[in-house]
Symmetry: C2
Subunit: 130 residues, 2 copies
């Protein structure tokens, strides 16, 4: 298993790039993911990536997250080989899932979130690239 | 630059290991870092690690973090080659630092935190291993 990316809620991707450029990071990929209500910028960082998440509207889960908790780390995404199998194992052991079946994420990946109540307050995303 | 680890505030390391074992992770190293007020468990994950942080006392910054924000992701640590140089670059550009000079962290690393106000709400640690 690998950390695929660390998702970070930001108000404005462009504004944050000054800081990230100073620590030596650059945007390599940008896209809108309307199904998740976000604009996404990926900044490669060693073997993983930072994923800056800017809300597309006030309906966006990221907008609501920022309103409630402020900007900052939103989730950690773990890359798995077989997302259906991982979800089944977690469900069998009684862990709570936000997505019991995968949904489509950035870059066409299959993704699913584990409920933070089952993960000590951390929002983990499982993802499987096509 | 690499993500050295993701620091996660927990109330009790032992209690959280059930979840982490289910997703396939194991503790490879455990130590107390009294200077940071924490017990630390490192769980290797691909090229990086999860660092579970349990407060040693009510004086611990991690205890205060949990009281204020609940358990969950506390910081992201970035491994740098020359921590003094990185800190000087950030300071030159006007970014606010929590530690203007490095302090000692887990495993004898030199560490310093960037102020979340300068990093969009994220608490970044810079670390340089000896």
């Amino acid at each position: 298993m690998q950390v695929d990316h660390i998702g970070i809620a930001v108000e404005d991707i462009q504004v944050m790039l000054d800081f990230y450029k100073t620590i030596g990071l650059e945007v390599k990929h940008q896209e809108e993911v309307p199904s998740q209500g976000v604009k996404v910028a990926m900044l490669p960082l060693g073997h993983t990536k930072l994923e800056l998440l800017e809300p597309l509207s006030e309906e966006s889960p990221i907008y609501k997250f920022i309103q409630k908790k402020g900007t900052g780390i939103h989730h950690v995404a773990l890359e798995v080989d077989d997302i259906e199998k991982s979800l089944a194992t977690l469900k069998d052991k009684g862990f709570k899932l936000i997505n019991e079946t995968p949904v489509q994420g950035a870059g066409g990946a299959k993704i699913a979130f584990i409920h933070p109540k089952s993960a000590g307050g951390v929002l983990y995303e499982l993802c499987q690239h096509s």
